[in-house]
Symmetry: C2
Subunit: 334 residues, 2 copies
């Protein structure tokens, strides 16, 4: 069978874990600092390519991540894993650099309304601020990834045009000097046709820029979107352990795509994620005790596809009775 998206044929897919940042920041419970460190270490051991460890934001704004410095400093650094952190501004970047982040992740929105509502700045203001942070990172020789929120639609404005996404991507890459761009499906509006088209256009324009796709499973299209992006040439995906991280616009709906669900599916399909799925599932099973509730992970609930179940206890008797019916009907009926 020819190479197609349904058959991974050992193609490498880079899994980037966002649970400890995007996930935990949405939780009510404060997860103990040592537990966070242990969780990041477990994720490192599982073989993910990148971990968004934390965010260097105001402790008042996001108290759940008020221990960003300690976490970033005290995690074990596993060679080959990139430890990144979200930074909203120059102050955050300075803190992240001090704490030895490998990469800074900056953010603005492809939608003016969402940028204002979420970041309290116009897009032009955000872009100006990003350039300052990027130049600080450059001075420290740190690579910058810029996350473009609402790249597949804005919950207030609706569709965001491909031209708009490409316009901002161009400015972020060529003017701000981003090494990587993450196209974020912030509220789960992406659908596969759009993902395939936009991913192909992006890669055609910037083949040497590290492209990440960040999908939410809000409307059940997460894995399909990952596959559409792979088919168009992408190989880096954000995902969240246990699928934690909600969407404020859809209470009760899933947030980030679930790391172990994506890895499970891709490994079934023959892709090489580099991830030890059993280790990832074990890490995910720690979450409920830390956050105080179950996660949406279907793999934690159902197990892997070949985690088998025992035969019913009375199976031998069922089989015996069935076979006796054959014997009975084979006898001459008199």
């Amino acid at each position: 069978m020819s190479t197609n998206v349904w058959n991974g044929e050992h193609r490498r897919i880079h899994m980037q874990e966002v649970g400890t940042r995007d996930g935990l920041q949405a939780e009510c419970a404060f997860v103990d600092t040592q537990d966070k460190i242990a969780l990041v270490n477990a994720l490192s051991d599982s073989g993910v390519a990148k971990i968004e460890v934390t965010a260097f934001v105001s402790p008042q704004a996001i108290p759940a991540l008020r221990d960003a410095e300690i976490v970033m400093r005290e995690i074990e650094r596993k060679p080959g894993v990139v430890y990144t952190a979200l930074v909203p501004n120059v102050r955050g970047a300075e803190r992240a650099i001090d704490a030895r982040a490998d990469e800074l992740n900056l953010v603005m929105s492809a939608s003016e309304s969402h940028n204002l509502a979420n970041l309290r700045m116009t897009q032009a203001q955000s872009f100006g601020a990003l350039k300052q942070v990027a130049s600080l990172a450059r001075a420290s020789k740190l690579p910058v990834d810029i996350s473009l929120s609402c790249a597949f639609g804005c919950p207030m404005e609706g569709d965001v045009s491909e031209a708009t996404v490409l316009h901002w991507s161009q400015r972020l890459i060529e003017e701000a000097g981003a090494r990587g761009i993450t196209l974020c499906d912030t509220t789960g509006m992406a659908y596969p046709s759009q993902v395939a088209r936009l991913t192909a256009m992006f890669i055609e324009h910037w083949p040497h820029t590290e492209l990440t796709l960040h999908f939410h499973n809000t409307r059940g299209m997460g894995l399909a979107n990952v596959l559409a992006a792979i088919d168009a040439g992408a190989n880096r995906f954000d995902a969240s352990l246990g699928g934690i991280g909600g969407c404020p616009y859809a209470p009760g709906a899933s947030g980030n795509v679930c790391s172990e669900e994506i890895v499970h599916a891709l490994e079934c399909m023959g892709y090489d994620t580099g991830v030890d799925l059993a280790a990832l599932i074990a890490a995910s099973k720690r979450l409920p005790a830390l956050i105080g509730h179950e996660t949406p992970s279907q793999i934690v609930k159902a197990g892997r596809r070949l985690d088998l179940h025992p035969l019913p206890a009375d199976f031998a008797a069922i089989r015996e009775r069935a076979l006796q019916r054959d014997a009975a009907s084979a006898e001459p009926r008199g």
Copy 2:
């Protein structure tokens, strides 16, 4: 852009609703007969191609569907919609024929262990019984669909070989005379590579047999499996309103793929499901009151992708403050 699976280009996909049978039989609550009839009528109006209305089984075995005759007789028949019913044996077939089912849906398993555990018969015994039912249906000029459970894996045996699935498909089509075959992913073990391969093989062998794919979303691969099957040539899918219908092997995990999630995704992608999505969602929203709990439907929770949200109440003030910062920084600093 060339035709590919990500772009539906108005290709017709037939949606077959199984919520009133596969879904309701798994519920603890008995749904009032008139409510069932109203639900089937709402589904008819939504434009689905086929509805598995009920099952003609022993009322002791499945009390939730003990009103099969009344429901099947009293629903409104919409031209173009096929009203099918599950029948386990000759007695069930006689009842379904009396109640004017358009089609009989029979079932056996591709796995001997699952067949014994679930149906208390060997596969050979089930096949013999199916042939009897099929010949009764033929005498009444009713078409027969046969559902092959565990076609993508057995929760007790593990992988089921493609050769086994093709063997039973052949016997069901060529010896038992099935007009249609449903390959059932009974416990959510299907994955896209397997689905694409098996679907292609099936269609190559039996291009004129009506093939249905019946997926569960147990491990989050439901939509991806639907797309893999479409890419391989399939165009008929079972799905359950609200995603109701559990999997006894994975408590808490999703069961059947959710009708409105599949229709939403396919319509976003430009496929023609013939379904009025708003009507389908409205029907799904009736379910919690009938079954006494929320459904797993992500579309009911999150809305369609372009169901937009209002700007924040203080949006004008946010914007004003942002613009004032520009004005302030434009002034000479003294």
